[in-house]
Every structure is written in C-alpha cells, then in structure tokens.
C-alpha cells in the first residue's frame, strides 16, 4: 500500500497521456464500475493492417483506474488488434508495479476490459 501512489502513477493520473475523444473512430467502447463510479471510454483509429495509429481515452475515476488507462494507451501505440487481444491482467499489474486488493483490482482492470471488448467487438468478447 505504501507504494500504491508512486510518483509515476500520480503523474499519469495528473497528466494523462492520449487523453481525449476521437471522433470519428474505428473502435469506440465505454464501460464503468458502477460500484466505484469509475468510467472509461476508449477510442481507436486503426490502419488497414488493424494496427493502432491513434488512440484516446476519456472518463473519470480514481487514480488507479485513470493511470492504468493512460499507461495502457502508451503500451498499445502501433500494436495490432491481435496483439492487443493478448494483453492480460498480469501485463497491467506489471505495468503498474504495485500490489492491489480485490476492490482496487477492479479499478486497475477497467481500461483493459474496455480495450479488449473494443478490440474483439462487443459481441465476440467473453469475460476472461
């Protein structure tokens, strides 16, 4: 817990990267954690190889949910949707580099969930 609000996490929270709405976008998806009130929307533009050329996230929520989204946006630049589908919860935890209890884990994973539902398409995504 002492490390939860590390400098780089707070920096991503206060100065989020790739923050904003892309309109139009090739892929847009939004979801929330109603229990916490965290909301994240992710917009992606992809090229003919399904490679991410532009991305943006928006929404509101706690430092963990927003920082996690910001870091994830950095991670996916130039990656293909197939590569994005391979992202796991361990990748997010490694990216954050902190230990999280079960409640905060949901905050940390919201962006990944939104991204993957977007990448798979709402119909095809099954909860992992």
């Amino acid at each position: 817990m002492d490390d939860m609000y590390r400098e780089f996490i707070l920096d991503h929270y206060k100065n989020p990267r790739y923050h904003g709405v892309l309109d139009p976008a090739d892929i847009s998806y939004e979801d929330d954690n109603p229990l916490c009130g965290d909301v994240i929307r992710i917009d992606l533009r992809v090229d003919e190889d399904n490679r991410v050329v532009e991305s943006g996230f928006s929404g509101e929520g706690c430092a963990i949910s927003q920082a996690s989204a910001s870091m994830l946006m950095e991670e996916i630049q130039g990656k293909t949707l197939d590569e994005i589908k391979k992202f796991t919860r361990d990748d997010i935890l490694e990216m954050l580099g902190i230990e999280l209890g079960p409640v905060r884990l949901k905050c940390a994973m919201l962006a990944l969930k939104v991204l993957k539902v977007g990448a798979y398409g709402v119909q095809e995504w099954v909860e992992e």
Binding site: L10, Y13, C36, E60, C107
Partner: protein, 417 residues
C-alpha cells in the same frame, strides 16, 4: 431501562468506553492507531456483547422452544429475554411485536412480501424518498413490478432535507404505504417521522420506517412516532451481524400471511396444508439466530447503560466539531444539513481526488472511512457525484479521531495537490 447508572456525557468519550472495545485498541499497522469512522456500515463490539455470546455457546447452547431439557430452557429463556429487552428499548407495547430477522433489509423484505402481498393490488401507490438506502428501495421495486404498483418519490432539497411540501402533494394521491428512512446513512439527515407518520395515517397510508441508522444513535419510541413498521439491525448498534428486528403493530402482524415457511412458524402441519403460529413466531421460520439475538439483547443493555440521550448528545458534539473542521479543508464539499438536523455522519468529496483514493490514503494513516455510493445510488445521482467519502461517528469516537481524519485529508491533498 436502567437510567441510574448512566454515565455523565463528558465521560462518554473517555478511556473507559474505548476500553470496552478490543478492536479500538488495536493498531492498523505498526505504530498506527486505528481511528474507526465507519460505524454507519457496522459498529465495533464491546466485550460485554462478546462475552455474553461466548458464554451462551460455551454453557447454554441448545435449540430454542419445545425443548424439555435444561439447556433448551435456558437458551429459550435468554432468547425471549432479549426480545423483551429490545421491545422495551424501542417502546413496543409487547414483545410479541418484535420479530427477529437476519437484518434490517430482511425486515423490510418481510413487510413487502407479507403485508404488501396481502394488502396491495395493481395501481396502488407507494411513497419512498430520494435518500433511501437500496434496502428500502429495491424490495418495494420488486413488489411494484410484480403487482403493477406506482412509486412516488419525495425529492431531497439542496440542504439534504426531504421536500415535505412535495410529500403532502404525494399524499393527495392516496398512497397505501409510505416507507422512509429515519436517518439517512449518507447525509445524516434525521427525518420528521412523527409528523410524516401522522400525515400518512390521515391520508390512509401505513408508515414503514427504516430505522437502521436511528435506533443505534438516539432514543426511539415506536408508539410516540406513531409508525406501523420499524426495521433495524443489531450490528450497527454494538450487536453481532446476522440478526435484525422488524417491529410491527400487533393487529397488522396478526392479519398478515407468513413470510418464510418451515419449523417454528406453524401451529400444526398436515400433509397438504398448515395452520400458522401466533406472532412473532409466525414470522420466524427455522432455527433463529439464537446467539445473535442474545448478543443483540446484551448490546441494547450496553447502550442503555450509557444512555441513548447521552449517546446522541455526544455524537451531536462530535459531528458539530467534525463539520467545523472539515469546512477548513480547501476544496472539500460536505453534503447534508447543518449539525443540528443530522446525526453523526459526514459525507464529502475532495476536489480532484476520487473518493477511493481519499479512503486509501486515509487508511495508511489508520483512519477507516468508507468510499463509494453507500448503497444509495439514486441519492448520489441527486448530489451529482459518483462517489463520496463518508466518515461516521459513534459514542466511542473522540475529537482526536476527528483531528486525525483532518490531518489525513491534508496528507491526501499533499499527495494529489
């Protein structure tokens, strides 16, 4: 109720009281004292309750009612004595009107399932409010969608009070039931139940009260309030989890169909039908939470020793102080009415910091608060916030606890500033 042994209110925040609560003596982590400001979710338990429950399981454990042996008689006597003490605690005219449930939520579900099923038909109207806990919304919503009822809602003003003129207008629509919280678990607002109940009665509605936050904090007399049903939970008032009470007027309870079916709630069973037992047993199917009910009785005894007036006065002093100190914090928004209209609860938001982050950092400094919507999503929509931080107080909290909260909030601001 023994009032002679009531302590002086100035002693209520002293070391003597905290010494009764083992959990309050612990450290959250090395060198960090626990400041427990989450009583609205559940209170801590005094040794008097813990020892009573421990004694029950060690020496008296048996199933209640119909037992011929000594332990069964002792268990039954203790269980029924708890019912008597709880009846006295809320001014019930008879212990027959005290039904043990799992919690206040189940008590309210008992009303909707049993009274609602027998007394409401499609098109009937209900009046609820915008500040209700989900436990006083969802059971009525379920009943409503099953029966085709209409739900009217009393709005909450910007000051965190119920809009009583709107309530009067809603009564003109002749609702069958009004179900309102006695005290908001978020805003701390204490609603004028006696007045509302009289008006509901004049309009032909029954008055149901969610007393989960009132019974623990100030004197409640269901007859003075003039209500028809009153629900509350042991665990928010120094008792164990797993037991709550529905108080109802005997004539209403007598006329209601049973809630759950099984042992104890029957007088006689045939292969294809049954005769219901008398109240309160008609509503207590299966082995009840015996030890928990006995613990509840001990909790009520404990509260009476301190004095409910004294508890309320102590909390009033504390919340007044807390609201003053919270107002000093830059960027804070505190929700709800002035201190003289509320109990010991303060919900707030801090500019630019999500409630979860506030609670997480406060925990680091030993301060236990709750963050979220506190089972009151519609109220948070009304307040136009997704989540609040809630600090709640009981007689075992002190000014030092408030100071530690405020210090913690400044640390939050340093971190996120």
């Amino acid at each position: 109720m023994d009032t002679s042994s009531r302590m002086n209110p100035t002693i209520l925040d002293g070391a003597t009281i905290r010494a009764d609560f083992p959990a309050l003596k612990r450290e959250v982590r090395k060198g960090v004292r626990l400041v427990y400001l989450d009583t609205t979710a559940t209170s801590q338990k005094p040794v008097q309750v813990l020892e009573t429950m421990d004694r029950y399981y060690r020496y008296h454990n048996a199933n209640v009612h119909r037992g011929i042996h000594t332990l069964a008689e002792e268990a039954t006597a203790q269980y029924e004595a708890a019912r008597e003490r709880i009846a006295e605690f809320i001014g019930a005219s008879s212990a027959r009107e005290i039904i043990f449930t799992r919690n206040a939520t189940e008590a309210l579900n008992l009303v909707t399932h049993s009274w609602g099923a027998a007394n409401l038909v499609a098109g009937d109207r209900l009046v609820l409010s915008e500040m209700e806990h989900h436990s006083n919304l969802v059971p009525w919503q379920m009943l409503s969608s099953e029966k085709g009822l209409e739900i009217d809602i009393i709005p909450v003003s910007d000051q965190g009070m119920l809009d009583l003129s709107e309530f009067h207008s809603l009564l003109d629509k002749q609702p069958k039931a009004v179900s309102i919280t006695h005290m908001s678990n978020v805003l701390g607002t204490v609603n004028p139940i006696a007045q509302m109940s009289a008006q509901a009665r004049d309009a032909g509605a029954i008055m149901v009260v969610d007393g989960a936050q009132s019974a623990p904090h100030f004197p409640v007399d269901v007859q003075e309030l003039g209500v028809d049903f009153f629900a509350f939970s042991a665990h928010k008032m120094c008792g164990p989890t797993g037991v709550g009470v529905l108080w109802g007027r005997a004539e209403l309870l007598d006329a209601m169909p049973p809630f759950l079916g099984g042992g104890d709630m029957i007088k006689r069973v045939y292969l294809r039908n049954f005769d219901s037992n008398e109240i309160p047993y008609k509503f207590e199917a299966g082995t009840p939470p015996i030890c928990e009910a006995i613990g509840f009785g001990a909790a009520v005894d404990y509260l009476c020793t301190l004095g409910m007036d004294e508890i309320w006065e102590h909390e009033q002093n504390l919340v007044t102080y807390a609201l003053e100190r919270l107002d000093e914090v830059p960027g804070i928004a505190v929700y709800g009415p002035k201190a003289d209209r509320r109990g010991g609860v303060a919900a707030f938001t801090l500019d630019g910091v999500h409630a979860h982050d506030v609670a997480q950092v406060l925990d680091k400094y030993g301060v236990a608060v709750r963050a979220g919507h506190h089972c009151a999503m519609p109220l948070h929509e009304r307040l136009k916030v997704v989540a609040t931080v809630r600090a709640s107080f009981y007689f075992y909290n002190t000014r030092e606890d408030v100071d530690q909260l405020i210090d913690g909030l400044y640390r939050v601001k340093d971190l996120f500033g």
